[in-house]
Symmetry: D2
Subunit: 378 residues, 4 copies
């Protein structure tokens, strides 16, 4: 695994939990974690339960005792590491976004396909029990024909203008702001649940144009005093309308300026026969409405997806005991490990990473042009 910060911790935890709570056909052996700072990565290896560590990912990808590489490094490093790992015939699992731009993403997909290695991208929210239930409901036809898809992904960690300039706010490292970071999740969930995008049009904002630069930055914050200000080169918020290929109308907004909303990742889908609604802040619940219910008793049901009937829930605790954010990582890790071990089908792959990137770029292009942009055009 490359990277040992927020996502490195989440992924390490996931592999450990897979062994404890699931029965994959192959056990996960956590060989080595990799980071540039030897002291930091050594500590992480011990704490997170890795057998060893490396400080140079070029060495990591060449090790014979390693079958697959999990890439959690900052977004600007994804492509180079992935291509090297693929060249060594390793299977690869990559954090989103796949790359800083669409052409890089396509290059990665082509390389993986050519090499015949297995590949995955970490759209973890697909694997929460309530989202799996949503997918099952849509696929069963219980919602009927889909008319509306609306998603929000709202956070507020940037609303304070004194929040420092983290790497996520620099275009050259992050590629994009709220759009690439969190609209990416909403786009993937929409594709997962109701299918492909046809055309889009959007607008965006960078509400605070300059922020303090700290001596050392880490994750969403940093340390040291702010000696100067630096320019924010990504969007604080991006919203867009979409037409889907199946005729549905779509509406998306991602913002890091939505005061009071901490992780308000929601979708609401209206079909001719029913509606479902989900919110990451109550990730164990799915709101469900069926028109076929007796009229005087119809209403949104709050389904608690913690029962034995719900996918993955039975691997954890008895009825009514909720799980948290990190469990999505455990489930996706389990599915990918199963995919490697037994050849069971797996999505999302690099192709889903490319499809998501196409929509992201079509939105950016629509903002530049001020008109609708067909996703096929980019």
């Amino acid at each position: 695994m490359v990277g040992y910060k927020f996502m490195g911790k989440a992924h390490s935890n996931a592999y450990k939990q897979v062994n404890m709570f699931f029965d994959p056909d192959a056990e996960v052996v956590m060989k080595a974690i990799c980071g540039r700072d030897e002291q930091g990565v050594k500590a992480a290896a011990e704490k997170f339960g890795w057998e060893g560590y490396e400080t140079d990912w070029r060495k990591l990808v060449k090790r014979d005792d390693i079958d697959f590489i999990d890439i959690n490094a900052p977004s600007d490093a994804h492509k180079e590491i992935a291509l090297a790992a693929i060249a060594e015939g390793k299977h690869v699992f990559c954090e989103k976004p796949l790359a800083l731009n669409l052409s890089d993403a396509r290059e990665m997909l082509a390389a993986a396909e050519k090499a015949g290695v297995k590949h995955g991208i970490c759209f973890n929210y697909r694997f929460l029990p309530a989202v799996q239930l949503a997918k099952k409901i849509v696929d069963s036809g219980k919602l009927g024909e889909i008319h509306h898809y609306r998603a929000t992904y709202l956070q507020d960690w940037l609303v304070d203008p004194e929040t420092p300039l983290a790497w996520r706010l620099k275009k050259e490292i992050a590629g994009s702001g709220a759009h690439g970071d969190i609209n990416a999740h909403s786009i993937d969930l929409a594709r997962f649940l109701i299918g492909e995008f046809d055309r889009v049009i959007g607008h965006n904002r960078t509400f605070v144009k300059e922020r303090p630069v700290l001596e050392s930055s880490s994750g969403l914050t940093g340390t040291g005093s702010a000696t100067e200000k630096g320019e924010v080169t990504v969007d604080d918020a991006t919203a867009f309308l979409a037409d889907f290929k199946n005729g549905a109308m779509g509406m998306f907004v991602a913002s890091r300026f939505a005061t009071g909303r901490k992780n308000h990742n929601t979708f609401e889908i209206h079909g001719s026969k029913g509606t479902i609604r989900w919110d990451l802040e109550n990730l164990n619940e799915l709101q469900v409405y069926f028109r076929e219910d007796e009229p005087e008793l119809a209403g949104f049901r709050r389904v608690l997806a913690t029962e034995p009937e719900h996918k993955y829930a039975g691997n954890w605790w008895p009825t009514g005991h909720i799980i948290g954010y990190e469990h999505g990582f455990v489930h996706i890790a389990y599915e990918f490990v199963q995919h490697l071990a037994s050849g069971s089908p797996f999505a999302p792959t690099f192709e889903d990473g490319v499809r998501c990137q196409e929509v992201l770029e079509a939105v950016d292009l629509s903002i530049e042009r001020g008109t609708w942009v067909s996703v096929e055009e980019v």
Copy 2:
């Protein structure tokens, strides 16, 4: 009608709305409203749409052009007025509580039955669409055998010790505090929904024992400066456990000290097949759960009782347009008027007032004794 304050206004409004939104078999003609203060009652008569007014209820009950008397006076006057009206052969409709104590209430019921007049008591919450739906669900057997009934009626208007000593806090006028005022509603709803009480045990508190006496008090407050303190002679909160005759376990709490709860009148009923829950603060909604729903899709439904299928809702506005507190009065007034006009069945009557009073007094007796008290014993 006797009384022109809070309840007088609510009842006057109800009669006017009955004519506009319903089609009773007889039109309501609002003859006269009665109060001791001529200036006040005259203004009220004009404002509320009464043809005339009286300052002496003894004259009111003797008027030949009046068929029925609605009694909204303070609780200590209910009995005398009702008996006089009944003696004149008038039909009577009385605010709750029927009387200050059980023996008075029984006397009123006996008089009404003997005289053969029609009688009703204003347990208005029975007549909200969501509560009617609750009743229909229970009666249909959709909840199965009832195991649990829990009710709260929580307010917080007394939590400030400087809130003055209103008439509702004096035992000789109000008869009781939170217990008689708001547990009474919960008891009536429980009887309406699942049937009779078997035995009870409770406890209570008067958290603030003395309060400022204002020069003039009106409704829940008053005017003028507080020259002295007076003793609070009723309970601030009363809670009790109950066994129902059908075997269900019951739990009730009424408080005027539940900080933050304004009008939190709720019930939750668990049966072997389902559960329902209601809250007056969202009175248009009923939460409903059915065990027979497909397990992976079962959940509490938020049923908005504003649809044409819901009783009374169709008399108001189109789908999804909510109604408020006062509409319960309109509906009970409509049903009582229909009862007078066409002989359609009507409850709650004075008998329901007596039954409710029995439970209230059994609870008080249980507090005195420290043991369970059978309702039949009082």
Copy 3:
């Protein structure tokens, strides 16, 4: 008053309630209600409490004993009636939309201004206590600089393809579908709360293109058997993005196909200091978040706008007793009557009707063109 159906009933009720629950400087005298069908309008006049009725609005607007005309007729008749009333020097209060198109609306505004009569448009939702509180919070600066405004107005009464072709689905009578009927309310609330629109871009759908034509249609439904199908000539759903003049990003969606949503008229406003959220289905509540709250205790507050501190709430019932949909009409009627009686300021006027129509038409133009349209352009 012209019109005696859904809106006619709501407005009649409002005038009656104004007299009972408010103290306007002039009493409302309900002179005459007007409709083409004599039997129908006569019955309505009696039921709703009007002194008389007319079957020809041309006669109504000429009557000397009438000071102001309330226009509730179908949208295609608004202009002609209003111009005639204005020509007679009557004050006018008109249901929304002001007219079928922008040029008609502008003509009505110009006529009213030239004649010097007072004019109002029935954007009733402005006058609910929780919305008044929202306005007060925004104006006080407690939300800081506004970044995001999102509104939904979702209903589902058309999702059944067998729902008949009501007048609201014909462009020549209604002017527009969900857009003009319910986006109009959202646009007005946005203007009321945060100010003017700069530019917009939208998309729309007519999901069901043909519907059964009933022999007689009334309100949202009709009677008789369906002998043929007729074309739906308005939108079932319209969504759009907006930039506001103050820099905020806006997002709007109106639909009659949002299964399970009955009257889901919501707004959520994110500012640099706080957020507010409101939903018509729980119209007494306002969700409020303040960044200045102690961090470990910050959270969305559910403010129940039923307390004496909240505008209009004190005119109704004690603390915690909720009101319903129709009360917004009572409050706007009170304010307009006060405006007539005492010259107190009043909005929304015909000018607000025109402003709203401009945004509606800019959205339609943007749909036609596929590009952003400046509101000033239309």
Copy 4:
């Protein structure tokens, strides 16, 4: 550790997570897990990450390489194992209930105190961030004087009469039903949050008196066909009223027959200055109301206890990322390990187990007698 089923898994996971997400002063080394079935315990040891296993707890408690023993065996085995471990000078951490009855619990406490070993009991819910926040708010005086404490712990896994007779339904093994299993949690939270009980009175039910006996039972269910029925010897539901020593009124209900409620462990505390409310089904949230808030803006706040300011939350994920049921075990394990390693204060201890048992038995005694029972009496 003794026991490897539901609780064994939860505790094993906790120890692993402590090492990864916390920095205790001593690392947890997971030496051995113990169970009677060698195949089962061996598999568990591997899966859960233990170095070895034992099939006889008598051998386990004698091992020199083990400092503390975690007891997860069925309730009837707690005492014997704990006394043996204490006799060997091991520190002990025990699942609740401490023992099958009060005298056993007292004997365990006395033994632990006499031996000077450290002891803890697994009231895990104390250690959720939202509950820690509740404690901090109460202790800070922000709620003022406490007037009301109400708790529910509602599940529905027994409502189906065909649910088999698990060990939890046999008095000789489980000691008690819903009362000892889940009222125990509510009693502990009440003591933790507002202090000691004075007197209690309760009632209970066993709604289904006989259930199928399966060939082999495990956890809440079992396998094989039901050849006969066996008697349920514990309560399905127990409710009680309480007076607290600080004068507050208390109300508790535990049920396994609350249809639709999966894990509805809630408390609501009303004080003279504020109110808090919590629900395990949304365990990351605390509802908070303060009277000192500006009246027109006062309302229940939904505080998401996932922020860096909230205890333990910072050890997991960034702002707004929720945690689940099992995290309470990780936190209590961390605190107990710290207690062993550094002597930091720790509660709940065996003394808390005894106090809880006293209340449980006082309630049972009150049910037997039909009168209030002072907790000091048992």
